[in-house]
């Protein structure tokens, strides 16, 4: 009962997998090629069940609730007793109008392979079915000796759309919680509640670095990372650029921004131009100082390091998403004696910035830099909100650790269940 030549091929492909077990590695390992094995293994030499495996007793298909829509769960009941079958083949068919699909069951059209699952499983989820159409499903057990009779669903099933993806509810709540913390403190700051934040040396150094560049009559180099605008670090880097360029405009220092993406160049121009405007220095803005170099990572680095050696900027800022180029930039900057301030959330590059730069903003500090630099109360307030969210995360970790410890010491008690519950609530 095999419906197409393609499935035949899949079965014979798999026969090698089964014979791998049955023949205890006598023939496959050296060959490593299934094509050679097709038809080569005399089935009777397996010394096992020669006939085809028994079919599934019953099969049902139902819509998966609260999913992304279009998914159907198919469950079946295997025949009792052991079997030499290795897997189930699941197929589907659209519901056809009467008269079509001759030779098949009523209204059932050509069968298409949906998936293959190991014999031990008794259900499969089929997703991304068109939610408007109904489908029949059938399963076949397959062993090296052949395949069983098919078992087909009695009625067609439909994967309905749902309004909300319930599996994502914990995630939704987590985002809501973090957002609530941040928003609460933004509003509190707006109402005039004083917000204190600790000092971050790297951020306090920014003003000094810009001032020094002005004194020395040299330029400032600002690299907003090498990724495009769809990376949040680039966006964070540009918010820092907005603040730094404002200071530069006030001090009348020249700022240079080489970018490795055209879009970033355009966005950086917008940010810098508006900052010069806000500082009342619209005339001093030079669009060509913010230029696209190349998308190629190391082409970009070749340019920037050559430029550094020739122009000798007094201050270098690296704020954004960096990869291997971090150390080339920072070491070149170090060799020309520039003040260097770096910020990135790319944890693999932090060691190099820490080793070669004067100041480094580590991960979350970089993300907070724009808020710090702006000095606006509501932005500072959002940092406080971030801290509260962090404290909640820490408390949840502590609770989880306590539960896990209890579960490890007393595996029979209530602790393991509590731990699983907590993980479930968090969406794991």
């Amino acid at each position: 009962m095999i419906s197409s030549a393609l499935i035949l091929c899949a079965i014979s492909l798999d026969s090698s997998g089964a014979s791998d077990v049955g023949l205890a590695n006598t023939s496959i390992t050296a060959a490593g090629n299934k094509a050679d094995l097709r038809g080569k293994i005399p089935l009777n030499e397996l010394g096992q069940e020669i006939s085809a495996p028994p079919a599934a007793i019953s099969i049902s298909a139902e819509d998966v609730a609260w999913d992304a829509g279009g998914a159907i769960k198919i469950s079946w009941q295997p025949a009792a007793g052991t079997t030499s079958a290795t897997k189930w083949i699941v197929e589907r068919s659209e519901v056809l109008a009467a008269g079509q699909g001759a030779g098949q069951g009523p209204g059932q059209g050509p069968w298409t392979l949906v998936t293959e699952v190991p014999i031990a499983e008794t259900n499969a989820v089929v997703s991304k079915l068109s939610p408007d159409a109904s489908f029949f499903f059938r399963v076949t057990a397959v062993s090296p000796n052949g395949s069983s009779a098919v078992t087909t669903t009695k009625s067609a099933a439909k994967g309905h759309w749902n309004f909300f993806i319930s599996a994502k509810l914990p995630l939704f709540c987590a985002i809501l919680l973090v957002s609530a913390c941040v928003i609460y403190f933004i509003l509190a700051a707006r109402r005039g509640r004083p917000m204190k934040v600790r000092r971050i040396a790297a951020l306090e150094a920014i003003k000094d670095a810009v001032g020094r560049a002005t004194e020395m009559g040299r330029s400032i180099l600002f690299v907003p990372g090498i990724q495009d605008m769809d990376n949040i670090q680039t966006v964070a880097g540009l918010t820092v650029l907005g603040n730094v360029s404002r200071t530069a405009a006030e001090y009348d220092a020249a700022i240079e921004v080489p970018t490795s993406r055209s879009l970033v160049m355009e966005a950086a121009r917008e940010a810098v131009q508006a900052s010069y405007l806000a500082a009342g220095r619209a005339d001093a803005y030079n669009a060509d100082a913010i230029r696209y170099i190349t998308d190629e990572q190391f082409g970009f680095v070749a340019y920037v390091s050559g430029r550094m050696v020739r122009e000798k900027p007094a201050a270098c800022f690296y704020m954004g998403c960096f990869f291997a180029e971090s150390l080339i930039l920072a070491e070149t900057g170090n060799s020309i004696g520039a003040i260097q301030i770096a910020g990135t959330a790319e944890s693999s590059q932090l060691p190099f910035f820490v080793a070669a730069c004067d100041y480094t903003l580590i991960g979350e500090e970089f993300m907070a830099a724009s808020a710090y630099l702006s000095g606006e109360p509501d932005q500072i307030g959002s940092l406080k909100g971030q801290d509260v969210a962090k404290a909640i995360a820490a408390i949840i970790i502590i609770i989880g650790v306590v539960l896990a410890t209890g579960a490890a010491i007393a595996p029979q008690g209530a602790m393991p269940a509590a731990l699983e519950w907590l993980k479930g609530v968090l969406g794991s």
Binding site: D67, W161, F164, I165, K168, L171, F172, V178, S179, V182, I183, D228, M229, I232, V235, L238, T239, V240, L241, G242, S262, L263, M265, E266, E270, A271, Q273, A274, S275, L277, A278, D288, R291, Y292, E296, F298, G299, A302, A324, L327, A330, E331, A345, S347, L350, A355, G363, E364, M367, A368, S370, A371, S374, E376, Q379, S382, G385, A389, K390, A393
Partner: protein
């Protein structure tokens, strides 16, 4: 600049575009009908980024042409850049020298742009690859000079930094096996190669995990500041 409308068109409209687009994307993840919106927007982004290349190319040409016409110092190099740019663009877009594809030999444009025999492929193999990978290889030298300068036992933190690097360096080569391979089995945990694995699994995991959690919160807060219109420095700080 025109008066009146600019403030709305230049500040308010972009701000609301960002706010609406952001919240739509945030919420779309939770509803089946909109779940795949992120993928579509990803494709849109790629196309916009590819179109934006026109702007980048324009900036590149403008800056280099200005250098040449002003006869700035090093204007010859600017000319080389422009010539290389033009040649690569022409042979790449024109698929010059690309043989027919074996799948669809009748279609003139179906060959791989960097197939064997194409000029674009030649440029890739003999200019792009050697220069970029050598640039990358410079890191081996910079790693050494950075280590010589920065890894000095100035304080406790620096001692931890340099001794960890030391253990990992030793543990990840044959030298580690030679130095501590004689340790008996019951003390095998102290062998350098094992020690470096423990450092990775315990300290490194802890440090990185905290950084990752912190960044996740930082990203959420940063994004929220943008989406609430609190942080507008991406379109210029100030009002």
């Amino acid at each position: 600049m025109a008066e009146g409308s600019p403030r709305i068109m230049k500040r308010l409209v972009p701000m609301w575009i960002a706010i609406i687009a952001g919240f739509v994307m945030l919420l779309s993840a939770f509803f089946p009908i909109t779940e795949s919106l992120g993928e579509t927007v990803g494709e849109i982004f790629n196309v916009v980024a590819a179109i934006a290349f026109v702007l980048g190319a324009g900036s590149l040409a403008k800056v280099n042409l200005a250098k040449i016409s002003r006869r700035d110092q090093g204007w010859g190099y600017a000319a080389i850049t422009l010539i290389c740019f033009a040649i690569t663009l022409v042979v790449g877009l024109g698929k010059i020298g690309v043989p027919q594809s074996t799948q669809f030999p009748l279609l003139g444009w179906s060959g791989e742009k960097d197939a064997e025999g194409s000029i674009f492929g030649w440029i890739y193999e003999f200019a792009l690859v050697p220069i970029t990978s050598t640039m990358f290889a410079l890191l081996a030298f910079y790693v050494a000079s950075a280590a010589f300068r920065a890894f000095r036992a100035k304080n406790l933190e620096a001692i931890l930094l340099l001794s960890t690097a030391f253990i990992v360096l030793l543990g990840r080569t044959f030298a580690g096996v030679v130095l501590t391979g004689w340790l008996p089995d019951w003390a095998s945990g102290l062998r350098l190669e094992n020690l470096s694995v423990y450092i990775m699994q315990v300290f490194n995991t802890a440090g990185n995990r905290a950084i990752i959690i912190g960044i996740a919160l930082g990203v959420t807060a940063t994004s929220l500041r943008i989406l609430l219109g609190v942080d507008r420095s991406w379109m210029g700080s100030g009002d």
